[in-house]
């Protein structure tokens, strides 16, 4: 598959990569300094996941950037479409698409399958899904805030945020049995109930974070060095955010009131009247810089607390799943036919899962996942424009990228793009097995 790159024989490139678009960013030409390339990644301390950003810099100023992905494509969709793998098994796979949004993907996936198979979800199960996903948002946003502080060289803030994040992980462990990978949603409901004994612990955590939020806002937003490093840095204007279809906090920080929970309520979210948060809610004019992204994420922690509170107060009684027995569920899913779309506002933005089921086949016919980073990646181009090398880590981090969740592979042969079908991939796998057996 790999070819020798004529320009650089040491680095073989995948076919098609030569046509990769290099974007030269506009910006005033300053001084006579020579333009040279600074490679960031695929392995770099500022990046937690493999992606390559090649910057062309003049002195400290960025004049061009080239983004190359595809270092960590795991083929999870393909694994999920394997013959003989049933949907409950695939559910576990979907949970492992992302380690941080490990309930967002299953929520979107179960919704897609439920729509395809016509399964109803009891109200109590919907509430439990909402509670777990909002707890996940708190832990994800605090994790991001810590990472952002670290990218700015402010390690004390990193240690502070990650220490307070432990509380929400404890609660998640209490409710689901795990700190990460909660395995809560299943087709037709949830796997675990929230029992009356657990309520006080959740309430205590909510009170803990309520008291803490003001402190966190103070530590992040009123620190002069953080302000000096984030104000006016990595600006994504509203028009660009709209044009590049940015999602999640990245879009909201630019003043776009865009949130799937608000625009297209699902599960029990219509009960909570969720309103997308923008910096306006903090009394700021949205600029779209990194500072605004911190504002939006920290305010969303408060919003999640509100939602969890309301959900706990109004939790309906009743069943937690419409299929208490797995064999009955599998039998129903095997008979089901049709296609379904599921969506969810993950901490990073909108997640979409598409599935198609065929009657008589217990495995998936088609499974397509769109992780939020896939939509946000392009907004890096305007954000990096005319910035400095020092700002690269924080700008790269400010969309909260989840590279492995979004990585894609595409094949170009003889200048034509080839789409791999399920059959084609299976054939490829058989051929490889045969080759290995020989």
């Amino acid at each position: 598959m790999s070819e020798r790159n004529p320009k650089d024989p040491e680095n073989p490139v995948l076919p098609g990569v030569e046509e990769e678009r290099e974007v030269t960013l506009g910006g005033p030409e300053r001084g006579l300094a020579e333009v040279f390339e600074v490679p960031i990644g695929p392995i770099h301390p500022a990046l937690k996941e493999p992606i390559r950003l090649t910057f062309r810099v003049r002195g400290e100023r960025i004049v061009g950037v080239q983004i190359r992905t595809g270092f960590a494509h795991r083929g999870i969709e393909f694994m999920g479409m394997r013959q003989g793998r049933n949907l409950v098994q695939v559910l576990y796979l979907s949970e492992r698409i992302c380690g941080i949004c490990s309930v967002s993907h299953p929520i979107a996936f179960t919704q897609a399958v439920e729509r395809a198979a016509g399964i109803e979800v009891p109200p109590r199960a919907q509430y439990i899904r909402v509670i777990i996903s909002e707890l996940e948002r708190i832990h994800s946003h605090l994790l991001w805030a810590g990472v952002a502080a670290h990218e700015l060289g402010f390690d004390t803030l990193l240690h502070l945020t990650w220490r307070v994040r432990e509380k929400v992980l404890d609660i998640l462990e209490e409710l689901s049995g795990n700190r990460i990978n909660y395995a809560i949603p299943i087709f037709g409901g949830v796997r675990r109930d929230i029992t009356p004994e657990q309520y006080p612990k959740v309430w205590e955590a909510i009170r803990y974070y309520r008291g803490l939020l003001e402190q966190l806002l103070d530590a992040f937003l009123r620190d002069p060095t953080v302000e000096a490093r984030t104000r006016g840095v990595g600006v994504l204007e509203r028009k660009e955010a709209e044009g590049l279809c940015a999602v999640g906090p990245t879009a909201r920080a630019s003043g776009l009131r865009k949130d799937v929970r608000q625009d297209r309520p699902y599960l029990a979210y219509s009960d909570f009247q969720v309103r997308a948060i923008t910096p306006k809610d903090y009394g700021l004019t949205p600029v779209g810089d990194v500072y605004d992204k911190i504002v939006v994420r920290l305010l969303e922690v408060g919003q999640s607390l509100d939602i969890i509170e309301k959900a706990l107060e109004n939790m309906p009684e009743g069943e937690i799943t419409s299929f208490p027995k797995i064999p009955a569920l599998l039998a129903h899913l095997k008979k089901a036919e049709g296609e379904g779309l599921g969506w969810h506002e993950a901490p990073r933005g909108e997640v979409i899962h598409y599935v198609r089921l065929a009657a008589g086949d217990e495995s998936l016919l088609v499974w397509k996942v769109k992780a939020p980073t896939y939509s946000n990646l392009l907004s890096w181009y305007p954000m990096f424009e005319d910035q400095e090398i020092a700002d690269i880590p924080i700008i790269a981090a400010c969309i909260d990228p989840c590279i492995c969740c979004m990585d894609r592979v595409y094949i170009v042969r003889d200048g034509k793009e080839e789409a791999w079908t399920k059959e084609g991939l299976l054939r490829l796998s058989w051929e490889k097995t045969r080759r290995l057996q020989r």
Binding site: E37, F154, H159, T225, A228, R229, P393
Partner: protein, 330 residues
């Protein structure tokens, strides 16, 4: 003093300086960790780090200019340790008193920074080059306020008629706080503050760790250094911390406690030496540890602007106040 005695003293100071430097580095890390609610490494960790680095393989990149790349760590260590010999150590005058003055110390402090920049440039790595450019910009920014502070204090002491003028030993023997009037005290306070701000910049610690900036340029200057060479830079950095803190002590806090306690002879010297070590430690905690715990890393252009405008203005203002005070007090 015979040549051999000087030689022995110098050896003692150099070895002691290295040990104190590494020990203080350990304390610095421990205190920073406690401030961040971490357990932190044991205090002997810098010694272990140094030992580990010394037995590791030293890799020289193919793209590096080998002789510059290899010479620079030695230059940095030599300059840092030499500066120790011009530093008054509490009750003891500098080992090489009379063979070089405060201006020489200024140069000796600049040499390790230059050596690091050259090493980074010679490493052939783009990250090293960016780090080197940043180091040079930093050097140009903080060097002027630093020089002004040093010259202002040395000039005031020289005006009092003590000699040899401009020697750190002389400056440390004659504290200025009690000599000058209120204007002078204000001026000295401003100069002292400027020097405390310059200290973390000189040592490239947060918020001024721009040339290394782990998350931005992966260690920058040191990206390609490993093994023995990295160990040498590590040692130079530890010693430079002591030298800079010692400089602050010599210029602004050169007081002993032995006389107040009514001690004399060897006991007085021992107590004063311990007190000096404590003062150096206190300056390090104030100027390096707390600052690096409480701030984010700045951008190089922010630092350059800050030092050229505010740093220079503060240093010159302090100098002016000191001069005015001289005119007023006569």
């Amino acid at each position: 003093m015979s040549g051999w005695a000087v030689f022995g003293e110098a050896a003692l100071v150099l070895i002691g300086g290295g040990i104190v430097g590494l020990f203080y580095r350990g304390l610095d890390r421990k205190i920073a960790a406690r401030m961040q609610a971490r357990v932190g490494p044991p205090i002997r960790q810098p010694f272990l780090d140094l030992g580990k680095l010394l037995v590791k393989e030293t890799v020289i990149p193919k793209t590096a200019v080998t002789w510059i790349f290899s010479a620079m760590p030695f230059l940095a260590v030599l300059a840092s340790f030499t500066a120790l010999l011009y530093l008054p150590l509490g009750p003891f005058p500098p080992v090489l008193d009379g063979h070089g003055d405060a201006i020489l110390v200024l140069y000796l402090l600049a040499v390790p920074a230059l050596a690091m920049a050259l090493g980074g440039l010679a490493s052939g790595s783009p990250l090293g080059v960016v780090g080197a450019q940043r180091e040079l910009v930093m050097l140009m920014s903080y060097e002027f306020p630093l020089a002004v502070v040093l010259v202002a204090v040395a000039w005031r002491v020289a005006v009092l008629g003590f000699s040899p003028a401009f020697s750190l030993g002389t400056i440390a023997m004659h504290p200025l706080w009690t000599v000058v009037g209120p204007l002078g005290i204000l001026g000295l306070a401003i100069l002292c503050l400027t020097l405390l701000v310059v200290t973390p910049a000189e040592l490239a610690k947060i918020p001024f760790d721009i040339p290394e900036a782990e998350t931005e340029i992966a260690g920058g200057l040191f990206a390609e250094y490993s093994g023995t060479y990295l160990a040498l830079f590590y040692l130079a950095d530890a010693v430079r911390t002591v030298v800079l803190a010692g400089l602050v002590v010599a210029l602004f806090l050169p007081y002993g406690i032995a006389k107040t306690l009514g001690l004399a002879g060897a006991a007085a010297q021992a107590v004063d030496l311990l007190f000096w070590l404590f003062k150096v430690f206190a300056v390090m905690v104030v100027a390096v540890t707390t600052v690096r715990v409480g701030m984010a890393r700045l951008r190089v252009e922010q630092v350059a602007r800050g030092f050229w405008l505010w740093g220079t203005a503060a240093a010159l203002g302090g100098l002016l106040l000191l001069a005015l005070d001289k005119v007023v007090m006569g």
